[in-house]
Amino acid sequence: MIDGTRVIDYHGHVGRWERYGMVDDPELILGAMDAVGIDIACLFHIFHPDGTTGNDLTAQFVARNPDRFVGFAYVSPTMPDRMVPELERAIDKLGFPAIKLYPPYTPWPFNEEPWHPIYEFAQDRGLAIIFHTDHFINSRPRYFEDLAPAYPRVNFVSAHCGNVPEARAEAIAAAQKFPNVYLETCSTYRTPGVIEELVEKGGADRVLYGSDMPLMDPRPQIGKIITARISNEAKRMALGENAARLLGI
């Protein structure tokens, strides 16, 4: 908790990527979370295209500290026959409340046809989907302008908010046009004024704090919110209130 606000980190990973110092050690992760008052972290495993392998690892990780972690389901259109059955399993049996997608690991921009069975599933269930977004062709936030009106029961979350100014502007434009587009904050591009821009242009009710842990430590990422020139009310919304509403927790 930070000043009475339950803090939810909307972007974290299960899995190891030692070449970049990423180790999913629960003690390390919980230590960093506790040092700044993060109550809950949303986690997903994106390194296995079948979905099942990573989702099971996520479920095992979450089960060790179920009051601190929430698992998201991951699937990939590179294994199309497995997508919907695995989503059904991850949501219904593993109890995950949302979906994570990672377009850079596929050949397709995320508005193209191979992805749509996932969106139809999410539309049926009224789920949130968090997408990796950046300035490369597969991951442009402008695609939300195609998807958000077509799947109005899905909440679309732009992870990293596009990372760079051009893509960030696309994410903000989509959030301005559609009420089911959200802006997530984690990035090593910690440009001054970004959090202020997201709140001012996208709306405080659309901003979600995320860290990308354990690839990155959650502390400097939450520091972006705390040290931004935004109101305390906006900070509370970004730090946890928006995520709680989105996830129904």
Binding site: I2, D3, T5, E18, R19, Y20, G21, M22, V23, L28, I29, G31, A32, A35, V36, G37, T188, Y189, R190, T191, P192, G193, V194, M213, P214, L215, M216, D217, P218, R219, P220, Q221, I222, G223, K224, I226, T227, A228, R229, N232, K235, R236
Partner: protein
């Protein structure tokens, strides 16, 4: 514990601030007054500043433009860009003769074909080493192997490695291990738990706070450093004491 507002508990010197415009576009910070306002907002007392033109265009022109940013109160501490070319070396020698060089910053020559190896840098590194002038080195501008090889040849040269990112995770410890006079600036180094782990391994004297403002916001890393399990004494060293010692700073110097 955290709160919705933050201010540092210890004196802070930002060891890595860029001023002026890059050739690629305008900076969000256009004046010394703006920079000082940003420092005040985040509780930063002083900052080591270099000019953007010194990174990839001209160290000598960058240094001339840096003069426009120096304030009467000396909260902004000039750092002079340098390259192993005659014009730059002459300028640095003259600035040093006038007692104005507390630190230097390496201009990116690797992207122009000159690797960071003794055969290309001996005059410059010998000068900095003999005159006890510390050198800031942007990690993305230098090969890790060249750093290890070259710095071993100048064991008295103090260096501060700038801008380590998680993509440097495999080399950071090796670089610190290889040369005891090498320090690490922390503006971009975010692998989980690594600040604590590095301080445990190498001691707090090897690390300095820098933000690399305005490339990055000034507050987040400062906030991070105040929410680790490192001691208050170590925090004070990282936030100001180490860079004060390295630059020979006293109040107002």
């Amino acid at each position: 514990m955290s709160s919705l507002t933050f201010s540092p508990r210890v004196p802070v010197i930002d060891a890595n601030v860029c001023v002026g415009n890059h050739h690629t576009g305008p900076s969000p910070c256009q004046s010394p007054a703006h920079l000082l306002g940003e420092m005040d907002f985040h509780g930063v007392r002083r900052a080591v500043i270099y000019h953007a033109q010194g990174e990839q265009i001209s160290p000598t022109d960058g240094n001339m433009h840096l003069e426009d940013w120096l304030d009467a109160d000396e909260r902004l501490i000039p750092q002079w860009s340098v390259a192993p070319v005659e014009t730059s070396m002459r300028q640095i020698a003259e600035l040093h003769r006038r007692g104005r060089v507390k630190s230097a910053r390496l201009h990116d020559c690797q992207s122009a074909g000159l690797p960071f190896l003794p055969w290309g840098y001996d005059d410059l590194l010998s000068l900095l080493s003999s005159e006890r002038i510390p050198l800031w080195i942007p990690l993305m501008d230098v090969e890790a192997d060249h750093l290890v090889t070259t710095l071993k040849a100048y064991p008295d040269l103090c260096t501060v490695l700038i801008g380590a990112h998680y993509t440097h995770a495999l080399v950071v410890r090796g670089l610190l291990e290889a040369n005891s006079n090498t320090m690490l600036e922390l503006s971009r180094y975010e692998p989980i738990g690594e600040v604590e782990a590095l301080v445990d391994r190498f001691g707090a004297d090897r690390f300095v706070y820098g933000s690399w403002y305005p490339r990055y916001a000034m507050g987040p890393i400062l906030f991070y450093l105040h929410h680790t399990r490192i001691s208050e004494d170590d925090l004070a060293r990282i936030c100001a004491g180490n860079v004060e010692r390295l630059l020979g700073l006293t109040e107002g110097s």
